[in-house]
């Protein structure tokens, strides 16, 4: 689906950095670019969308060349059919939610897609509001819907959830997955958040200093491959409290706070904010239906 091989010297905050990246992304996948800030993740999305020019390289989408510096091919952002959700919401302040979506329509397009997206992203109540009256999560939902209006096959998400609180984040992750599956998109997500990556993506590329360090499935990347048990939960350490001989670690899994008793040796490397994996191999977990 996407073949990308680009080379660019960037003026990053820590001086010059050479971005040299090769990506091969299959149709229908949700791929995450993971890495510290300034590693070049956003620049990759910007070059794929035509907002930034690589020094040299090639981008091919569905075997159609979008960029080829040797043949002087370079499609403008307008000619590349992609959806882009920016980190800052970038809704047009002079338009209502609905007008934002309608602005995105191409000249020949049928308006029905706007209704459909308003339905899917549950914006009916908000459609006549101006962006300034919306919360961060609502704004990003509108931005997601707007990016989908032209029915692109590729969706680029540049840390769309980083400014949101946890509950909002989880809700929006579900919207993104819903849209990704419904429209059979090929999606590239930039994210720092490991539990988010594990929940959402098929493949992860770890990027450091402009180079791809590793790539694989999220589990291959974020666990040491030693874990082999039935129950795996990912969460974030909220608090560690010392009790008599043991420690009580509070872990946020999704929206649930779970307390786990741990030994000194286990706690040693942990601190607040760490992403952890909780497994159990000694006992069999019991599963029961929750009565509504």
């Amino acid at each position: 689906m996407i073949e990308l091989n680009i080379h660019k010297t960037l003026n990053a905050t820590q001086g010059k950095m050479v971005l040299d990246v090769k990506l091969h992304i299959q149709k229908g996948q949700l791929v995450t670019l993971y890495g510290s800030s300034g590693a070049g993740k956003t620049s990759i999305l910007r070059m794929l969308s035509g907002l930034l020019q690589p020094d040299k390289g090639k981008i091919e989408v569905k075997e159609e060349p979008w960029l080829d510096t040797t043949k002087k091919i370079n499609l403008s952002p307008q000619q590349r059919n992609i959806g882009f959700v920016f980190q800052e919401y970038t809704l047009f302040p002079n338009m209502t939610v609905r007008q934002n979506l309608e602005f995105a329509l191409s000249k020949t397009q049928d308006k029905s897609i706007v209704e459909e997206l308003i339905l899917i992203t549950e914006l009916k109540e908000l459609q006549h509001r101006k962006p300034e009256t919306l919360s961060g999560g609502q704004k990003q939902r509108v931005a997601l819907a707007r990016a989908m209006v032209q029915q692109p096959e590729i969706l680029l998400l540049d840390e769309p959830l980083s400014a949101l609180d946890l509950a909002m984040r989880i809700k929006l992750q579900d919207y993104i997955l819903k849209v990704h599956q419904k429209y059979q998109l090929t999606t590239i997500l930039v994210s720092h958040n490991i539990s988010e990556i594990i929940k959402m993506s098929d493949q992860v590329y770890c990027i450091d200093q402009g180079k791809i360090e590793r790539h694989g499935t999220p589990l291959e990347i974020f666990t040491n491959n030693k874990v082999d048990s039935e129950l795996k939960l990912f969460g974030e350490v909220i608090d560690i409290q010392k009790e008599k001989d043991t420690h009580k670690v509070s872990v946020l899994i999704g929206t649930n706070l779970v307390h786990i008793t741990a030994q000194e040796s286990e706690v040693k490397t942990l601190q607040q904010g760490d992403t952890v994996i909780i497994t159990s191999s000694a006992f069999k977990p019991v599963i029961q239906k929750v009565q509504p």
């Binding site: 907002l51 882009f84 970038t90 047009f92 602005f103 707007r146 032209q150």
Partner: protein, 224 residues
């Protein structure tokens, strides 16, 4: 009573100048806000020159350039039938140059204050630069546009030196209110000078007050 012609001429001049300036300044300010060209500092300087230059300097050079006594002026006169010296069109041209920074600067700084990702969001939605300018950028800098329009208008009402140099003092053609005031004082008609002055004072005060009220959001609060 006083002769109303100079006042009417003044407002006609200010109106024509402002409309033409708006058409010129939007593309110019757009270019200044987004271009990375090397000659940009030179253009920026030229646009700002009327802020510091004595109006008589500008007027003098325009007079020299358009005088039928030299090549360019006589070419204009013979081929296009335009006489820019001591005529209303000459006044308009002089005023456009003189008030240019008052229109360009607010629009330029309005555009620069918009987040660049707003443009990029529009581009990736497949919208051209032109559509983006008219549908996204300009509607979001309405206060800057209003400031530019009003400052250019008010500044044109207040000009004296350029008008005197290039237009002279021809009743009903180039004698604007600011020159009429000077004339009346010269003739020791302090009463008439005072009437003109008071009218100009009141009108410019009201215009500027209206801008500050609108841009400060006072009117909105008042109406609610």
């Amino acid at each position: 009573m006083i002769d109303w012609d100079p006042l009417i001429l003044t407002f006609k001049l200010a109106l024509v100048t402002t409309i033409i300036l708006l058409v010129i300044s939007v593309p110019l300010a757009y270019w200044l806000a987004y271009s990375k060209s090397r000659i940009k500092p030179v253009i920026e300087t030229l646009v700002s020159m009327p802020l510091v230059l004595p109006p008589t300097v500008l007027g003098f050079y325009l007079l020299m350039a358009f005088s039928p006594g030299n090549a360019f002026g006589s070419w204009l006169n013979e081929w296009l039938g335009i006489r820019l010296i001591f005529s209303f069109s000459g006044l308009v041209l002089g005023s456009i140059l003189y008030s240019l920074p008052f229109m360009v600067h607010p629009i330029q700084s309005g555009l620069s204050s918009l987040s660049p990702s707003l443009l990029e969001a529009s581009y990736v939605l497949g919208k051209s630069k032109r559509t983006t300018l008219f549908k996204i950028l300009l509607p979001n800098i309405k206060p800057s546009l209003l400031t530019g329009i009003v400052l250019a208008f008010a500044h044109t009402i207040g000009e004296f030196g350029v008008v005197l140099m290039i237009g002279g003092n021809i009743p009903e053609k180039t004698k604007v209110a600011s020159i009429a005031i000077y004339d009346e004082v010269e003739a020791l008609n302090y009463g008439a000078a005072n009437t003109y002055s008071l009218i100009l004072f009141a009108i410019t005060f009201i215009i500027l007050l209206a801008v500050y009220l609108t841009n400060g959001g006072y009117l909105k609060r008042f109406w609610k």
